[in-house]
């Protein structure tokens, strides 16, 4: 048992350090809006990273595949039980993360004698209009960060390090302020932002302690390199779908056509 309080704090700090280290080289995920809804894009290898949770709710993550799978199933269970016992319209991402997923993660993280979840998540719920979209980042310790509600352009990212995330957000902010972008343009922009994030996280490893100045990045080259071992995985949440389920995983052909010439 931990007798002294500060040893608990020490244990937590160690745990945090360990988890951050494990997450460092995770493949980032980018979320952007486009004319018909929201796009999520990443580069994955063997395991999928972007999933449907409910009619209007999408889930994406980086981290340990088994933990991603577990959180995904927890989210699906919670959403479906609520949707069945009450109504489909009562299922909201806000309640799902606040009352379901976040407390569970915090508990798992703080119980030093049980294993924590090693992952970071980016979840989105598409609303009737962009103001009603709910986009939230959920971390392994249960902390929540709802994104960018002040700007009318919902977009967000998760990456292995906070430097990588900052680099990606900067890149997105600089390169396209046009929220009426087509799906193809959104995919190109997201793929380039992904490359910025992946590279920043990877080179951040070797440049410990140094100031990460603005490097001359070639996103296309970085992406091409990474696509030798992985493939682009992308999904959309449609604002006005033909059916009540608004999630659609894009197929290989669509994706390859879009990113062929960045």
């Amino acid at each position: 048992m931990i007798e002294e309080p500060y040893r608990w704090v020490e244990a937590i700090a160690n745990r945090r350090e360990y988890i951050e280290d494990q997450l460092r080289l995770g493949s980032p995920v980018v979320m952007l809006n486009y004319t018909e809804g929201l796009l999520l894009l990443t580069v994955s290898r063997e395991t999928r990273k972007i999933f449907e949770i409910y009619d209007r709710v999408a889930f994406s993550a980086l981290g340990h595949p088994a933990d991603i799978e577990r959180m995904r199933l927890v989210a699906i269970d919670l959403a479906h039980i609520e949707g069945f016992n009450r109504a489909v319209a009562d299922v909201s991402l806000r309640r799902l993360v606040h009352f379901g997923m976040s407390p569970a993660l915090k508990t798992a993280f703080e119980q030093v004698f049980s294993a924590p979840y090693i992952l970071k998540m980016l979840l989105a719920e598409i609303g009737e209009d962009p103001e009603q979209d709910y986009i939230v980042k959920l971390d392994y310790d249960g902390s929540l960060a709802r994104s960018h509600t002040e700007t009318k352009e919902p977009f967000d990212v998760i990456a292995g390090t906070s430097d990588a995330e900052a680099a990606m957000i900067n890149y997105l902010g600089e390169h396209d302020r046009n929220s009426r972008r087509s799906l193809e343009d959104a995919m190109k922009l997201a793929a380039r932002a992904w490359a910025v994030g992946m590279d920043t996280a990877q080179t951040g490893e070797t440049e410990e302690g140094e100031e990460t100045e603005k490097r001359d990045l070639d996103p296309e080259k970085i992406l091409k390199e990474n696509l030798k071992t992985g493939h682009v995985e992308a999904a959309v949440l449609l604002r006005n779908g033909p059916s009540t389920s608004r999630f659609r995983l894009l197929d290989e052909k669509e994706v390859r056509a879009a990113i062929r010439d960045l």
Binding site: L73, H80, F84
Partner: protein, 274 residues
């Protein structure tokens, strides 16, 4: 449920009913509750659609389903806009004869079960799986059926499209106790079903062409004629009601999905063909 082997904590087979059970919802008691309420209302004019006609016919592009709109309580007509075709997923429809309350609850469980399976297992449930899920629900309803309350006799129709392979339209019908049968060419359920089945047999065997070769308008016209025929001898079934201008409900399932035939179209076909 006790298993001989220790099941790992995270074994997940996509079965929605067992998840519901963990959270306090069990199908059989819930259906009993629904049916008990219905039984209580029966004396006060509770609505049933045992008297009814629903049919499913395999035609050229897939499956056509039609249901009449009358809901009766004994010899009283309670409602003339009953919807007896329930869309379950993008390519499946449940046509119901029997107690609506119980049938709607079953349809709800079915709809959520299919979505849950698809999202958690990352693949759609096979047609065989879907058909069996409905069969399981009907069997859960057995105690009620045997008491003569809350009986549901459905038809399940779907268009099979797995991994890009086109399996075509499929029709399944059930007896009151939950046994499933595949309707090779068609199926009908409800008090007017005998008339409908007789005519369909005649048309399929000795008509100009087999039902499977009918195009959509021919199939729709035939469905309207069939419901009119059933309504002729069965008071619990209504055909087209000219006074209130209420048409039967007609939907088709093709490889593109589900489409309801609009009333204007039904009107046009009715006036020219029926």
């Amino acid at each position: 449920m006790d298993h001989p082997l220790p099941i790992p904590q995270f074994l997940h087979d996509g079965d929605f009913l067992s998840v519901l059970k963990l959270h306090g919802y069990e199908v059989a008691p819930r259906l009993a509750e629904v049916a008990a309420k219905f039984e209580a209302e029966l004396g006060k004019g509770g609505i049933a659609t045992e008297g009814t006609t629903v049919l499913a016919v395999k035609y050229k592009d897939g499956v056509l389903l039609a249901g009449d709109r009358r809901a009766t309580a004994g010899n009283l007509v309670m409602y003339e806009r009953a919807e007896k075709l329930i869309t379950i997923d993008a390519r499946s429809i449940l046509a119901i004869a029997g107690v609506p309350a119980v049938a709607f609850e079953m349809a709800r469980v079915l709809e959520h079960s299919f979505k849950y399976y698809q999202r958690s297992q990352l693949q759609e449930m096979s047609t065989a799986g879907k058909v069996r899920t409905l069969s399981k629900l009907l069997k859960e309803n057995l105690p009620l059926t045997l008491r003569g309350v809350g009986m549901v006799v459905p038809i399940f129709a779907t268009y099979e499209q797995a991994d890009g392979k086109d399996g075509g339209g499929k029709v399944y019908f059930y007896d009151a106790l939950g046994a499933q049968f595949e309707g090779v060419d068609y199926a009908a359920s409800g008090s007017g079903s005998i008339a409908v089945r007789s005519v369909l047999h005649f048309l399929n065997t000795w008509g100009d062409k087999p039902l499977a070769k009918y195009n959509e308008s021919e199939a729709v016209a035939t469905a309207l004629r069939l419901l009119d025929t059933a309504a002729d001898s069965d008071t619990a079934t209504s055909g087209y009601n000219p006074k209130s201008n209420i048409f039967p409900l007609v939907r088709v399932i093709t490889k593109e999905g589900i489409r309801e035939t609009p009333e204007t179209e039904l009107g046009r076909i009715y006036r020219s063909e029926v």
